[in-house]
Symmetry: C2
Subunit: 446 residues, 2 copies
């Protein structure tokens, strides 16, 4: 059996009976044994419970029952998301032993679809900006990004084949990009946040990370079901993707007005990507953004600060020691924001969501930008979310894909942005782009 990294491959081996959920889990656990002391991606690992789940799913397969492509797939859950019988610490000392009585809705969906819930992955404290203990597996001096630090690092190491993550600013796209894995931040509202610690509800998204675009589609499928009781879902992301040759166009819009500047290395790499894809028959145009878009990063930060202060203000006053400097500063910013300014920001937020939807009307349906300003910086920071926060602000779905390596051996990623609730188109185009990028997989330098 080869070393498995993608859900797609593993599901096929499980389907044909060449691999059991138990054997796959042991591959993942052995990678944890190998790397975890240096990478520190996990805050809680339930080896015994995971083995029981895998064993039960192995028995089901022997009885002819296969729940689908997540049957027996080991996944990690960001530690702001409740998992039955595990603590939800959220990076807080006070909550280190706060056991969840039930699964968050998103976890329950993955569990029902057959995923093996291995444990909880490191989050920055309360999903904000304070650097976590986790390190980037491509260079242990670098940050894995945040706040979904552990999910990105664990998937990069193959400790799990997929992970739940969350984003309010750039907390899914940024760590996935720094760690060389694929990510999906769905449309705001697409995936339930029930059982997930809020940071700023108007901007909070649950999303996924994995090692291919198809894997992202497999993970999204149960999460996006419309109804908890019967799991109805008008889309089937994977089968739409399989028809992509005839259904979707190789067309991308660059955004010259995007209010963020990439490093010279990323700028050159992104230009090279445009050249390379043009050669593979992709068409690019340039889409002007509305001028008011320039305020999006700053106003996103205001909403995040004010809503974080609303949620955390009373608790921070009671337990100041539980709030490290960056989340403290975020909350203090929120507490100090005058309400009339916030009212104007909310107006801009609503107008921006409408304006950006109109931007799609007469143009191509997928935008592309660098996913980050450059490769992962040092571990003293979690990096800059500015390439991602406008998409948290507008609520549009995004996919990120690794596409190149920096001179110092770190992954670089591109970010695609789709229309509201059109994850099907976005994933199908991203899947075609992944094939044409043909990203060079490298062995971990660990």
């Amino acid at each position: 059996m080869p070393e498995l990294r993608t859900i797609t491959e593993a599901a096929e081996f499980i389907r044909t009976g060449e691999l059991t959920p138990t054997a796959l889990l042991e591959q993942c656990l052995s990678r944890i044994d190998r790397y975890e002391d240096r990478v520190r991606a996990w805050v809680y690992i339930d080896r015994e419970g995971a083995r029981e789940q895998a064993s039960r799913l192995t028995t089901e397969l022997k009885a002819g029952q296969n729940r689908g492509p997540l049957h027996g797939i080991p996944v990690g859950i960001k530690d702001i998301i409740d998992v039955f019988d595990m603590p939800t610490a959220c990076g807080s000392k006070r909550w280190a032993n706060s056991y969840a009585r039930r699964d968050a809705t998103c976890v329950e969906r993955l569990r029902s679809a057959g995923a093996v819930i291995m444990g909880k992955t490191v989050t920055t404290v309360f999903a904000s900006f304070d650097p976590p203990p986790t390190r980037n597996p491509w260079n242990l001096d670098r940050t894995p990004g945040g706040s979904s630090s552990g999910s990105a690092a664990a998937v990069a190491c193959g400790m799990c084949l997929g992970a739940l993550a969350s984003q309010t600013g750039g907390s899914i796209t940024r760590p996935a990009s720094y760690c060389g894995v694929y990510s999906l931040k769905p449309t705001h509202g697409r995936v339930s946040v029930d059982g997930v610690l809020p940071l700023a509800p108007s901007l909070d998204h649950v999303g996924v990370m994995a090692n291919s675009v198809r894997d992202l589609a497999i993970l999204l499928q149960p999460l996006a079901a419309l109804d908890n009781d019967n799991g109805s879902n008008p889309y089937h992301y994977l089968s739409e993707m399989n028809q992509s040759g005839s259904m979707r166009f190789r067309q991308l819009s660059a955004l010259p007005d995007f209010p963020a500047t990439a490093s010279p290395e990323m700028t050159a790499a992104f230009a090279a990507l445009r050249d390379k894809t043009r050669a593979a028959e992709w068409a690019w145009n340039e889409l002007p953004l509305p001028p008011s878009f320039a305020d999006a990063p700053r106003f996103q930060h205001t909403i995040m600060a004010v809503e974080a202060a609303t949620y955390h203000g009373a608790r921070m006053a009671r337990h100041p020691d539980d709030y490290p400097p960056k989340v403290r500063s975020l909350i203090e910013h929120g507490l100090a924001t005058p309400a009339p300014h916030f009212v104007n920001v909310i107006k801009h937020h609503k107008a921006m969501r409408d304006e950006i939807e109109r931007a799609f009307v007469d143009t191509w349906r997928i935008f592309a930008t660098p996913a980050t300003a450059g490769p992962a910086p040092s571990a003293e920071t979690t990096g800059d979310p500015v390439f991602n926060s406008p998409w948290s602000y507008t609520g549009l779905p995004t996919v990120s894909l690794p596409f190149a390596w920096s001179a110092d051996g770190m992954p670089l990623a591109v970010q695609l942005i789709g229309e509201r609730y059109c994850e099907d188109d976005l994933l199908a185009v991203a899947n075609m782009l992944e094939a044409d990028i043909a990203f060079e997989r490298r062995p971990l330098p660990l």
Copy 2:
């Protein structure tokens, strides 16, 4: 300022400005200082937080704002109910430090109405039958009853003026009766169980304890609001009660077929109560219960066992040490129950709920029975719920009132049962009965 025991008195002193929430809280805290080492009613007391709440509510009053009769009233919350920033341990060792991220809906309602949330009162483990550390304040060798042990004992000692409790079998009425305090178990479904640990959802009720029937009405008022957002409520329990002289009848139905036998002392005391109230112009008749009612206590236990096993089964398998003998035995009973038997029990449950409603049609609207078989037994048990569990089963609202003292100095209580969703009638009649009982208040023998 006199020693205050009832919400009604305290609210009047607060309204007139003779008492501040802060002074009232200090009275309660000093009773905790005096009694708690022997009674052990609390699992978590937040003195500092309670003082902050009381101080804020005192400031509000100075600014002319009075939220109503719960403004500044100290209350205790049974420890299966989530309170913001306090652990919800549920009597479990594993959950001793499991902090709740938000208030249960019922707690949020009391808090908004101005109550001061002092802390968490002892529950038996997972609200089942294992004896708790709490002792009966009328005799430290006796049980306070269970599962709402701490709520009953704390209210009896005046450590708080009201408390939230919950009942699946007899967990509100029994401890309130053993401890000589008043209780209300509302209609099943009347009060939200959001944020409350389930035992058996088909039977779980949130209710209240206090030191008078009027106090029960004051506590129910915000809990029974129909809508979380605007607090609309078609009833106003207290003002209905004030009109009771002209609105309600002094009529009670005894239940000779009730499937439980009281002790000779309780039987005699209950007969004496009938004589005494007849002298005060109460009329009594005797209502035959449908024969199928005889199965209610046994079938209630089956539903409780099966639903408890559904909720706790997986957790008990993982953490056997967290399950003491009686809750373990309850869950094992549930796990061993054959599904076809359970289907028949569910049919009976539904039929019984319909039949008992028809029993009200041609008769008087309030039933009365002893609240327990006799006074509180020794602390090695939590007592027998058989006088209460049929009303958990049928979901009808009940009020219990102390009415006499046993020969060995323990309180005895009567239980009134009302029509579904008619807490207004039930409380109004109970209020008249309280006046005519004229229960002899005694000083605590501590």
